[in-house]
Amino acid sequence: MSDKVFEKVAANGLISRRHLLGLGVSGTGLALSGAALGADSGINFQIPSWSRQPGPGASAYGARSSYAENLERLSGAPNPTYPGGGASRSPLQHLQGTITPNSLHFERHHAGIPNIDPSQHNLVINGLVRQPLVFRYEDLLKYQMVSHIHFLECSGNSGALMRGEVGGSAQSLHGLVSCAEWTGIPLSTLLDEAGVLPEAKWVAAVGADAASMGRSVPISKALDDVMVALYQNGEAVRPEQGYPMRLFCPGWEGNISVKWLTQLKLTAEPTQFRDETSKYTDTMPDRSSYQFTFPMGTKSLITSPSGEMTLNQRGIYQVTGIAWSGGGSIRRVEVSADGGQTWAEAAIQGHQLDRALTRFTIPWEWNGGRAILQSRATDSQGNVQPTREALIAQKGTLSFYHTPCIQSWGVNTQGEVTNVYV
């Protein structure tokens, strides 16, 4: 490939996104994979066996292809003295589009996944309300519901980048983010039914897991866009996501979207649960600690090429990734191939929804030399994703929560891709 064919828009091989949009100069189509793979790849044009005999018929419940089983969540080793605690991460580098399949949505549990019989599950609203109420699951299904596509991200996602040199993949470093269509009842509907008293300023939300994990939600958020989610991507919320119901607080750190929701208590002050004091708080360089840091930052990540991948020959690659912000929709994503010296605007693939994953892509020609691939998101409020250096200058390295800094993927002359710091 040469500069005469593809318009270069930033240093080290980045090609104009206009080629992806059908606006290619020179009238040349973009032969991405053909250029990379070559023509002598041993393609077999004989009629395959599966075209010669009928396969199995329809099934009651679908399963993925047996050839696609590299798609798995990644979880750490279990701790026998912390049963059920831990997390699993979404395989971001293998996913496309913006919706995470329910089987691959990330998990974070504090005492395992309860096996809840919905007929025995209660949702209580009490505290500073005119009339404490209990809702049965079967009754909640009769309420008017709303549906929204939103990302969910653990505030500890990407925290490993604050710990110094670390290897890993997009999944192992950043896999605590996923995106789904959530359907449920606006929390304001249920709170209005109980009658919120004027002195109520917070809502203590408690789950029915063995840890009875709780978080305090400001009443302003609770009455704004929080929902009691009953469905995820069209099916009942799965057990690991809070069956039969979870709180869902759009754009905010994942832990506050309390799973297996069983109690909402209106209070004048925050309850100061363990998971909003000892955990999920950010110690600054001066040793004070930020508490109740709720919105997730403006963030993006190249998912391919990404850590632990290898570029096996020179040529044109489709750089792709995801961007999101707790502050709104994604306005723009820029990509650099030279460690942030020069930038080119990526094409947005599909939707740019409010507080949802947004897919971006840009063609890039790897010439066999060193490269550092980065992406930088800007959201609808004008918030720009910071460099790692700027984030550390601002908040130090004593905290591992809320670290939405630019990810740098280094490419060496062997084509090996690793996490690097610029």
Binding site: N122, V124, N126, L133, F135, V206, G214, Q272, T277, P295
Partner: protein, 176 residues
């Protein structure tokens, strides 16, 4: 006879229709309960002293509760074990990454009672009696030199225990 049948048919269709309208617009299916009904269900114990159950306990009484239920993970003296939390000691101001424990980091004593009662011990949450939770809360505070061995904690004084890092937090909840 025919008229009666017709009338009841009309009434039936009206009532069915009304039910459909209601389900679209103003469903109110919450069942009224009293706070008394919830006394065993609502485990929230707050920093304002609300929600603490009857009972009391001292660190002297709490040592045995801790040794039997907690030491296996948190260590005999709260020093932690492999993969499990250190709950004693630390200092937010020392050089390097601070050791964040109940004593050095936690801003509210109420959190300790609330968390132990709802989530500990990890292999059998909610297996301790309220009396035992008061006792072991006192023992953890005692191990951190926050109270003495014979201070009796109860529903009226526990939330008022002042923690060393009480002023160490900045509320960012107004940034939404």
């Amino acid at each position: 006879m025919y008229k009666t049948f017709l009338l009841s048919a009309v009434l039936f269709s009206i009532s069915t229709y009304t039910a459909v309208i209601n389900s679209q617009e103003g469903v109110r299916l919450g069942i009224p309960v009293s706070e008394e009904d919830l006394s065993q269900f609502d485990l929230i114990a707050g920093p304002d002293g609300s929600g603490f159950p009857p009972g009391s306990g001292t660190a002297r009484q709490g040592k045995e509760v801790f040794d039997v239920n907690c030491a296996v993970c948190h260590g005999a003296n709260g020093e932690g074990t492999s993969g499990n939390t250190i709950i004693v000691g630390g200092d937010m101001q020392s050089e390097g990454p601070p050791l964040r424990t109940v004593g050095s980091y936690w801003p509210h004593a109420s959190t300790l009672f609330d968390f132990i009662r709802r989530a500990m011990p990890a292999i059998a949450p909610k297996s301790l009696t309220n009396e035992q939770v008061y006792q072991v809360t006192a023992y953890v505070l005692y191990m951190n030199n926050i109270i003495t061995e014979d201070v009796e904690l109860n529903a009226t004084n526990l939330a008022g225990i002042e923690m060393p890092n009480a002023d160490g937090f900045i509320d960012r909840s107004d940034i939404q």
